[in-house]
Symmetry: C2
Subunit: 226 residues, 2 copies
Protein backbone atom coordinates (compact mmCIF):
# COMPACT_ATOMS: atom_id res chain seq x y z
CA UNK A 1 0.00 0.00 0.00
CA UNK A 2 1.16 3.45 -0.99
CA UNK A 3 1.08 6.70 1.00
CA UNK A 4 -0.87 9.06 -1.20
CA UNK A 5 -1.44 12.07 1.07
CA UNK A 6 -0.22 13.34 4.43
CA UNK A 7 -2.85 15.45 6.13
CA UNK A 8 -2.84 17.43 9.35
CA UNK A 9 -4.59 14.76 11.38
CA UNK A 10 -4.64 11.78 8.99
CA UNK A 11 -2.43 9.98 6.48
CA UNK A 12 -4.07 8.47 3.41
CA UNK A 13 -2.84 5.24 1.75
CA UNK A 14 -3.99 3.77 -1.52
CA UNK A 15 -4.86 0.06 -1.29
CA UNK A 16 -4.31 -2.47 -4.05
CA UNK A 17 -8.05 -3.08 -4.52
CA UNK A 18 -8.57 0.61 -5.32
CA UNK A 19 -9.94 1.55 -1.90
CA UNK A 20 -8.13 3.84 0.53
CA UNK A 21 -6.91 3.47 4.09
CA UNK A 22 -7.10 6.47 6.44
CA UNK A 23 -4.64 6.36 9.34
CA UNK A 24 -5.87 8.54 12.19
CA UNK A 25 -2.96 10.35 13.87
CA UNK A 26 -2.65 11.66 17.41
CA UNK A 27 -2.02 15.16 16.04
CA UNK A 28 -4.87 17.61 16.57
CA UNK A 29 -5.42 21.05 15.11
CA UNK A 30 -4.79 24.07 17.26
CA UNK A 31 -2.69 27.15 17.83
CA UNK A 32 0.23 27.47 20.27
CA UNK A 33 -0.42 24.14 21.93
CA UNK A 34 -4.12 24.84 22.55
CA UNK A 35 -6.68 22.61 20.84
CA UNK A 36 -8.99 24.40 18.39
CA UNK A 37 -11.13 22.33 15.98
CA UNK A 38 -11.42 25.34 13.65
CA UNK A 39 -7.65 25.92 13.36
CA UNK A 40 -5.75 25.26 10.17
CA UNK A 41 -2.50 24.19 11.85
CA UNK A 42 -1.51 21.18 13.93
CA UNK A 43 -1.27 22.55 17.44
CA UNK A 44 -0.31 19.56 19.53
CA UNK A 45 -0.13 15.79 19.81
CA UNK A 46 -2.47 14.07 22.24
CA UNK A 47 -1.92 10.41 23.08
CA UNK A 48 -4.92 8.38 21.94
CA UNK A 49 -6.55 11.23 19.97
CA UNK A 50 -6.44 9.24 16.71
CA UNK A 51 -8.16 6.16 18.11
CA UNK A 52 -10.73 8.19 20.03
CA UNK A 53 -11.62 10.09 16.84
CA UNK A 54 -11.87 6.87 14.88
CA UNK A 55 -14.07 5.22 17.51
CA UNK A 56 -16.60 8.03 17.28
CA UNK A 57 -16.35 8.13 13.48
CA UNK A 58 -17.00 4.36 13.27
CA UNK A 59 -19.98 4.71 15.61
CA UNK A 60 -21.61 7.44 13.51
CA UNK A 61 -20.73 6.05 10.07
CA UNK A 62 -22.30 2.71 11.06
CA UNK A 63 -25.49 4.42 12.22
CA UNK A 64 -25.62 6.33 8.92
CA UNK A 65 -25.20 3.04 7.04
CA UNK A 66 -28.16 1.56 8.91
CA UNK A 67 -30.22 4.62 7.99
CA UNK A 68 -29.24 4.38 4.33
CA UNK A 69 -27.35 7.68 4.30
CA UNK A 70 -24.41 7.28 1.92
CA UNK A 71 -20.81 7.60 3.16
CA UNK A 72 -17.41 6.43 1.93
CA UNK A 73 -17.03 4.09 4.94
CA UNK A 74 -16.21 0.40 4.47
CA UNK A 75 -14.76 -0.68 7.83
CA UNK A 76 -12.48 0.36 10.69
CA UNK A 77 -9.71 -1.18 12.79
CA UNK A 78 -9.58 0.65 16.12
CA UNK A 79 -6.33 -1.03 17.28
CA UNK A 80 -4.50 0.12 14.16
CA UNK A 81 -6.35 3.46 14.12
CA UNK A 82 -7.26 2.89 10.46
CA UNK A 83 -10.46 3.15 8.43
CA UNK A 84 -10.98 1.64 4.97
CA UNK A 85 -13.01 3.81 2.61
CA UNK A 86 -14.17 3.95 -1.00
CA UNK A 87 -12.29 6.31 -3.32
CA UNK A 88 -14.00 9.69 -3.48
CA UNK A 89 -13.38 12.78 -5.54
CA UNK A 90 -13.60 16.02 -3.55
CA UNK A 91 -15.38 19.14 -4.86
CA UNK A 92 -12.82 21.51 -6.36
CA UNK A 93 -9.89 21.67 -3.94
CA UNK A 94 -12.10 20.74 -1.01
CA UNK A 95 -15.13 22.17 0.77
CA UNK A 96 -16.29 22.17 4.36
CA UNK A 97 -20.01 22.06 5.00
CA UNK A 98 -21.22 23.35 8.34
CA UNK A 99 -24.55 22.62 10.01
CA UNK A 100 -25.46 25.03 12.80
CA UNK A 101 -27.94 24.62 15.63
CA UNK A 102 -26.80 27.59 17.71
CA UNK A 103 -25.10 30.88 16.81
CA UNK A 104 -21.46 30.62 17.91
CA UNK A 105 -18.01 30.83 16.28
CA UNK A 106 -17.61 32.31 12.82
CA UNK A 107 -21.39 32.64 12.34
CA UNK A 108 -21.54 35.03 15.26
CA UNK A 109 -18.39 36.86 14.16
CA UNK A 110 -20.03 37.53 10.77
CA UNK A 111 -23.69 37.99 11.70
CA UNK A 112 -23.47 39.37 15.24
CA UNK A 113 -25.48 42.42 14.17
CA UNK A 114 -28.50 40.14 13.69
CA UNK A 115 -27.88 37.20 16.01
CA UNK A 116 -27.19 36.78 19.71
CA UNK A 117 -24.63 34.35 21.06
CA UNK A 118 -26.18 30.92 21.49
CA UNK A 119 -29.39 31.81 19.62
CA UNK A 120 -31.02 28.67 18.11
CA UNK A 121 -30.49 28.18 14.37
CA UNK A 122 -32.60 25.65 12.50
CA UNK A 123 -29.95 23.24 11.06
CA UNK A 124 -28.55 26.17 9.07
CA UNK A 125 -26.15 25.01 6.36
CA UNK A 126 -23.19 26.96 5.02
CA UNK A 127 -20.27 26.02 2.82
CA UNK A 128 -16.68 27.25 3.08
CA UNK A 129 -13.75 26.67 0.76
CA UNK A 130 -10.77 24.79 2.17
CA UNK A 131 -8.19 27.49 1.58
CA UNK A 132 -5.88 28.13 4.54
CA UNK A 133 -4.27 31.13 2.85
CA UNK A 134 -7.65 32.85 2.49
CA UNK A 135 -9.06 31.82 5.89
CA UNK A 136 -11.54 29.30 4.46
CA UNK A 137 -13.96 31.85 2.95
CA UNK A 138 -17.73 31.17 2.92
CA UNK A 139 -19.16 30.63 -0.56
CA UNK A 140 -22.71 30.75 -1.92
CA UNK A 141 -24.63 28.22 -3.99
CA UNK A 142 -24.41 30.56 -7.00
CA UNK A 143 -20.63 31.01 -6.68
CA UNK A 144 -20.06 27.25 -6.28
CA UNK A 145 -21.99 26.68 -9.49
CA UNK A 146 -20.36 29.53 -11.42
CA UNK A 147 -16.84 28.47 -10.45
CA UNK A 148 -17.55 24.87 -11.53
CA UNK A 149 -17.11 23.45 -8.02
CA UNK A 150 -20.62 22.11 -7.43
CA UNK A 151 -23.74 22.21 -9.59
CA UNK A 152 -27.02 23.60 -8.25
CA UNK A 153 -28.54 20.12 -8.18
CA UNK A 154 -25.53 18.82 -6.26
CA UNK A 155 -25.85 21.72 -3.82
CA UNK A 156 -29.38 20.66 -2.95
CA UNK A 157 -28.22 17.07 -2.33
CA UNK A 158 -25.31 18.32 -0.23
CA UNK A 159 -27.54 20.57 1.85
CA UNK A 160 -30.12 17.87 2.43
CA UNK A 161 -27.50 15.26 3.41
CA UNK A 162 -25.83 17.78 5.74
CA UNK A 163 -29.09 18.41 7.58
CA UNK A 164 -29.94 14.70 7.74
CA UNK A 165 -26.51 13.77 9.11
CA UNK A 166 -26.37 16.76 11.46
CA UNK A 167 -29.74 15.70 12.87
CA UNK A 168 -28.56 12.10 13.37
CA UNK A 169 -25.52 13.32 15.33
CA UNK A 170 -27.64 15.78 17.29
CA UNK A 171 -30.10 13.05 18.31
CA UNK A 172 -27.36 10.64 19.34
CA UNK A 173 -25.67 13.30 21.47
CA UNK A 174 -29.01 14.28 23.01
CA UNK A 175 -29.40 10.68 24.29
CA UNK A 176 -26.38 11.38 26.54
CA UNK A 177 -27.65 14.78 27.60
CA UNK A 178 -25.20 16.53 25.26
CA UNK A 179 -26.27 19.39 22.98
CA UNK A 180 -24.80 19.84 19.51
CA UNK A 181 -24.14 23.51 18.64
CA UNK A 182 -22.51 23.02 15.24
CA UNK A 183 -20.71 20.41 13.18
CA UNK A 184 -18.65 20.42 10.01
CA UNK A 185 -18.57 17.76 7.33
CA UNK A 186 -16.75 16.92 4.12
CA UNK A 187 -18.39 15.35 1.12
CA UNK A 188 -17.18 13.81 -2.10
CA UNK A 189 -18.37 12.08 -5.26
CA UNK A 190 -18.15 8.27 -5.31
CA UNK A 191 -18.43 5.79 -8.16
CA UNK A 192 -19.31 6.16 -11.80
CA UNK A 193 -22.59 7.88 -11.05
CA UNK A 194 -20.73 10.48 -8.91
CA UNK A 195 -23.00 9.90 -5.95
CA UNK A 196 -22.52 12.53 -3.25
CA UNK A 197 -21.49 10.89 0.03
CA UNK A 198 -20.11 11.92 3.41
CA UNK A 199 -16.34 11.44 3.62
CA UNK A 200 -13.57 12.02 6.18
CA UNK A 201 -14.71 11.66 9.80
CA UNK A 202 -17.29 12.56 12.45
CA UNK A 203 -15.38 13.08 15.67
CA UNK A 204 -15.06 15.51 18.53
CA UNK A 205 -12.77 17.67 16.43
CA UNK A 206 -15.56 18.35 13.92
CA UNK A 207 -18.18 19.67 16.29
CA UNK A 208 -18.96 21.98 19.17
CA UNK A 209 -20.87 20.12 21.87
CA UNK A 210 -22.10 21.40 25.24
CA UNK A 211 -23.38 19.80 28.43
CA UNK A 212 -25.29 21.93 30.96
CA UNK A 213 -24.06 25.03 29.12
CA UNK A 214 -20.38 24.00 29.35
CA UNK A 215 -18.29 23.36 26.23
CA UNK A 216 -16.99 19.78 26.04
CA UNK A 217 -13.43 19.26 24.75
CA UNK A 218 -13.25 16.74 21.87
CA UNK A 219 -11.36 14.04 23.77
CA UNK A 220 -13.67 14.50 26.72
CA UNK A 221 -16.66 14.17 24.38
CA UNK A 222 -15.31 10.95 22.97
CA UNK A 223 -14.85 9.57 26.50
CA UNK A 224 -18.34 10.62 27.59
CA UNK A 225 -19.86 9.26 24.48
CA UNK A 226 -18.46 5.77 24.10
CA UNK B 1 -37.96 69.92 6.14
CA UNK B 2 -36.18 67.90 8.79
CA UNK B 3 -32.71 66.32 8.71
CA UNK B 4 -33.37 62.68 9.40
CA UNK B 5 -29.98 61.08 8.74
CA UNK B 6 -26.40 62.19 8.12
CA UNK B 7 -24.56 59.69 5.95
CA UNK B 8 -20.98 59.48 4.79
CA UNK B 9 -21.66 60.95 1.37
CA UNK B 10 -25.31 62.10 1.67
CA UNK B 11 -27.64 63.82 4.10
CA UNK B 12 -31.26 62.73 4.17
CA UNK B 13 -34.16 65.12 4.88
CA UNK B 14 -37.80 64.24 5.47
CA UNK B 15 -40.20 66.34 3.36
CA UNK B 16 -43.63 67.43 4.48
CA UNK B 17 -45.39 65.35 1.82
CA UNK B 18 -43.80 62.16 3.22
CA UNK B 19 -41.11 61.88 0.55
CA UNK B 20 -37.40 62.31 1.26
CA UNK B 21 -34.71 64.61 -0.07
CA UNK B 22 -31.17 63.29 -0.52
CA UNK B 23 -28.47 65.95 -0.47
CA UNK B 24 -25.35 64.71 -2.26
CA UNK B 25 -22.20 65.92 -0.48
CA UNK B 26 -18.73 66.48 -1.87
CA UNK B 27 -17.33 63.97 0.66
CA UNK B 28 -16.17 60.71 -0.87
CA UNK B 29 -15.21 57.46 0.82
CA UNK B 30 -11.57 56.55 1.09
CA UNK B 31 -8.65 55.97 3.40
CA UNK B 32 -5.86 58.44 4.21
CA UNK B 33 -6.94 60.94 1.58
CA UNK B 34 -7.08 58.35 -1.23
CA UNK B 35 -10.41 57.67 -2.88
CA UNK B 36 -11.70 54.08 -2.48
CA UNK B 37 -15.34 53.29 -3.36
CA UNK B 38 -15.22 50.19 -1.13
CA UNK B 39 -14.01 52.04 1.97
CA UNK B 40 -16.23 52.57 5.00
CA UNK B 41 -14.80 55.95 5.97
CA UNK B 42 -14.91 59.40 4.41
CA UNK B 43 -11.43 59.87 3.01
CA UNK B 44 -11.54 63.30 1.40
CA UNK B 45 -13.67 66.10 0.05
CA UNK B 46 -13.65 66.68 -3.70
CA UNK B 47 -15.18 69.84 -5.14
CA UNK B 48 -18.12 68.93 -7.36
CA UNK B 49 -18.20 65.24 -6.38
CA UNK B 50 -21.78 65.50 -5.09
CA UNK B 51 -23.19 67.05 -8.26
CA UNK B 52 -21.23 64.70 -10.50
CA UNK B 53 -22.58 61.69 -8.61
CA UNK B 54 -26.11 63.05 -8.78
CA UNK B 55 -25.86 63.76 -12.51
CA UNK B 56 -24.94 60.14 -13.21
CA UNK B 57 -27.56 58.87 -10.78
CA UNK B 58 -30.26 60.97 -12.47
CA UNK B 59 -29.17 59.70 -15.87
CA UNK B 60 -29.43 56.05 -14.84
CA UNK B 61 -32.56 56.32 -12.70
CA UNK B 62 -34.38 57.99 -15.60
CA UNK B 63 -33.34 55.22 -17.98
CA UNK B 64 -34.55 52.63 -15.46
CA UNK B 65 -37.86 54.47 -15.24
CA UNK B 66 -38.27 54.30 -19.02
CA UNK B 67 -37.57 50.59 -18.88
CA UNK B 68 -40.13 50.05 -16.11
CA UNK B 69 -37.54 48.95 -13.54
CA UNK B 70 -38.70 50.22 -10.13
CA UNK B 71 -36.61 52.71 -8.14
CA UNK B 72 -37.30 55.21 -5.35
CA UNK B 73 -36.50 58.14 -7.70
CA UNK B 74 -38.94 61.04 -8.15
CA UNK B 75 -36.77 63.89 -9.48
CA UNK B 76 -33.44 65.64 -9.10
CA UNK B 77 -32.11 69.19 -8.87
CA UNK B 78 -28.51 69.23 -10.09
CA UNK B 79 -27.82 72.84 -8.99
CA UNK B 80 -28.88 72.07 -5.41
CA UNK B 81 -27.31 68.60 -5.56
CA UNK B 82 -30.56 67.10 -4.28
CA UNK B 83 -32.75 64.19 -5.30
CA UNK B 84 -36.35 63.64 -4.19
CA UNK B 85 -37.25 60.03 -3.50
CA UNK B 86 -40.09 57.89 -2.19
CA UNK B 87 -39.77 56.64 1.38
CA UNK B 88 -38.24 53.17 1.46
CA UNK B 89 -37.62 50.68 4.20
CA UNK B 90 -34.19 49.02 4.03
CA UNK B 91 -33.68 45.30 4.62
CA UNK B 92 -32.57 44.74 8.21
CA UNK B 93 -29.89 47.34 8.98
CA UNK B 94 -28.95 47.64 5.32
CA UNK B 95 -27.61 45.39 2.58
CA UNK B 96 -25.31 45.94 -0.36
CA UNK B 97 -25.94 43.91 -3.48
CA UNK B 98 -23.04 43.46 -5.86
CA UNK B 99 -23.21 42.47 -9.52
CA UNK B 100 -19.93 41.23 -10.94
CA UNK B 101 -18.80 40.98 -14.57
CA UNK B 102 -15.10 40.40 -13.89
CA UNK B 103 -13.23 38.86 -10.95
CA UNK B 104 -11.59 41.71 -9.03
CA UNK B 105 -11.67 43.16 -5.50
CA UNK B 106 -13.17 41.15 -2.64
CA UNK B 107 -14.34 38.39 -5.00
CA UNK B 108 -10.76 37.68 -5.97
CA UNK B 109 -9.54 38.00 -2.37
CA UNK B 110 -12.03 35.31 -1.34
CA UNK B 111 -12.07 33.01 -4.38
CA UNK B 112 -8.58 33.47 -5.81
CA UNK B 113 -8.01 29.72 -5.55
CA UNK B 114 -10.61 29.22 -8.29
CA UNK B 115 -10.60 32.48 -10.25
CA UNK B 116 -7.98 34.53 -12.05
CA UNK B 117 -7.80 38.30 -11.85
CA UNK B 118 -10.11 39.84 -14.44
CA UNK B 119 -11.79 36.55 -15.39
CA UNK B 120 -15.31 37.15 -16.81
CA UNK B 121 -18.19 36.47 -14.41
CA UNK B 122 -21.71 36.22 -15.74
CA UNK B 123 -23.55 39.01 -13.84
CA UNK B 124 -22.75 37.19 -10.62
CA UNK B 125 -24.79 38.51 -7.68
CA UNK B 126 -23.72 38.54 -4.05
CA UNK B 127 -25.10 40.23 -0.97
CA UNK B 128 -23.16 41.73 1.92
CA UNK B 129 -24.38 43.16 5.21
CA UNK B 130 -23.73 46.84 5.87
CA UNK B 131 -21.74 46.39 9.05
CA UNK B 132 -18.56 48.45 9.23
CA UNK B 133 -17.45 46.79 12.46
CA UNK B 134 -17.56 43.35 10.83
CA UNK B 135 -16.12 44.39 7.44
CA UNK B 136 -19.44 44.07 5.56
CA UNK B 137 -19.60 40.24 5.61
CA UNK B 138 -21.09 38.32 2.66
CA UNK B 139 -24.35 36.54 3.46
CA UNK B 140 -26.25 33.74 1.73
CA UNK B 141 -29.88 33.55 0.64
CA UNK B 142 -30.53 30.99 3.40
CA UNK B 143 -28.95 33.16 6.11
CA UNK B 144 -30.88 36.26 4.95
CA UNK B 145 -34.11 34.28 5.22
CA UNK B 146 -33.27 32.65 8.56
CA UNK B 147 -32.27 35.96 10.18
CA UNK B 148 -35.50 37.60 9.01
CA UNK B 149 -33.73 40.11 6.75
CA UNK B 150 -35.11 39.03 3.38
CA UNK B 151 -37.49 36.22 2.42
CA UNK B 152 -36.55 33.67 -0.24
CA UNK B 153 -39.10 35.15 -2.65
CA UNK B 154 -37.70 38.63 -2.05
CA UNK B 155 -34.18 37.30 -2.66
CA UNK B 156 -35.19 36.12 -6.12
CA UNK B 157 -36.68 39.54 -6.94
CA UNK B 158 -33.57 41.27 -5.59
CA UNK B 159 -31.25 39.06 -7.63
CA UNK B 160 -33.23 39.51 -10.83
CA UNK B 161 -33.45 43.32 -10.43
CA UNK B 162 -29.72 43.46 -9.67
CA UNK B 163 -28.88 41.65 -12.90
CA UNK B 164 -31.34 43.72 -14.95
CA UNK B 165 -29.99 47.01 -13.58
CA UNK B 166 -26.36 45.88 -13.79
CA UNK B 167 -26.93 44.99 -17.43
CA UNK B 168 -28.50 48.40 -18.16
CA UNK B 169 -25.48 50.19 -16.67
CA UNK B 170 -23.09 47.86 -18.47
CA UNK B 171 -24.76 48.55 -21.83
CA UNK B 172 -24.78 52.31 -21.31
CA UNK B 173 -21.08 52.31 -20.38
CA UNK B 174 -20.27 50.08 -23.36
CA UNK B 175 -21.72 52.77 -25.67
CA UNK B 176 -18.82 54.99 -24.54
CA UNK B 177 -16.24 52.23 -24.86
CA UNK B 178 -16.17 51.73 -21.09
CA UNK B 179 -16.31 48.29 -19.53
CA UNK B 180 -18.14 47.65 -16.26
CA UNK B 181 -16.28 45.22 -13.96
CA UNK B 182 -18.60 45.36 -10.95
CA UNK B 183 -21.24 47.55 -9.37
CA UNK B 184 -22.97 47.69 -6.01
CA UNK B 185 -26.57 48.62 -5.33
CA UNK B 186 -28.91 49.17 -2.43
CA UNK B 187 -32.54 48.16 -2.43
CA UNK B 188 -35.52 48.82 -0.20
CA UNK B 189 -39.23 48.13 0.18
CA UNK B 190 -41.59 50.87 -0.99
CA UNK B 191 -45.30 51.38 -0.40
CA UNK B 192 -47.96 49.27 1.21
CA UNK B 193 -47.25 46.29 -1.00
CA UNK B 194 -43.56 46.41 0.03
CA UNK B 195 -42.38 46.46 -3.57
CA UNK B 196 -38.63 45.93 -3.87
CA UNK B 197 -37.01 48.90 -5.63
CA UNK B 198 -33.53 50.27 -6.23
CA UNK B 199 -32.63 53.04 -3.79
CA UNK B 200 -29.63 55.30 -3.07
CA UNK B 201 -27.55 56.14 -6.16
CA UNK B 202 -25.79 54.84 -9.26
CA UNK B 203 -22.58 56.84 -9.58
CA UNK B 204 -18.88 56.39 -10.14
CA UNK B 205 -18.42 55.62 -6.48
CA UNK B 206 -20.57 52.48 -6.79
CA UNK B 207 -18.76 50.79 -9.61
CA UNK B 208 -15.44 49.71 -11.05
CA UNK B 209 -15.15 50.77 -14.68
CA UNK B 210 -12.24 50.34 -17.09
CA UNK B 211 -11.31 51.78 -20.45
CA UNK B 212 -8.68 50.01 -22.57
CA UNK B 213 -7.67 47.99 -19.50
CA UNK B 214 -7.17 51.09 -17.32
CA UNK B 215 -9.25 51.72 -14.21
CA UNK B 216 -11.28 54.95 -14.42
CA UNK B 217 -11.56 57.08 -11.28
CA UNK B 218 -15.19 57.92 -10.34
CA UNK B 219 -14.98 61.65 -11.06
CA UNK B 220 -13.21 60.92 -14.32
CA UNK B 221 -15.94 58.44 -15.23
CA UNK B 222 -18.62 61.00 -14.57
CA UNK B 223 -16.81 63.51 -16.81
CA UNK B 224 -16.31 60.98 -19.61
CA UNK B 225 -19.86 59.85 -19.36
CA UNK B 226 -21.94 62.99 -19.35
Amino acid sequence: MKLSYTGKTKDVYELEDGNYLLKFKDDVTGVDGVFDPGANTVGLTMEGAGRAGLRLTKFFFEILKQKGIPTHYIDADIEQATMTVKPAEVFGKGLEVICRYRAVGSFLRRYGLYAEEGQPLDAFVEVTLKDDGRQDPPISEDALDMLGILSKDEYQVLKSLTQQIGNVVKEELAKKGIELYDIKFEFGRVGEDKQIVLIDEISGGNMRAYKDGEYIEPLELEKMFL
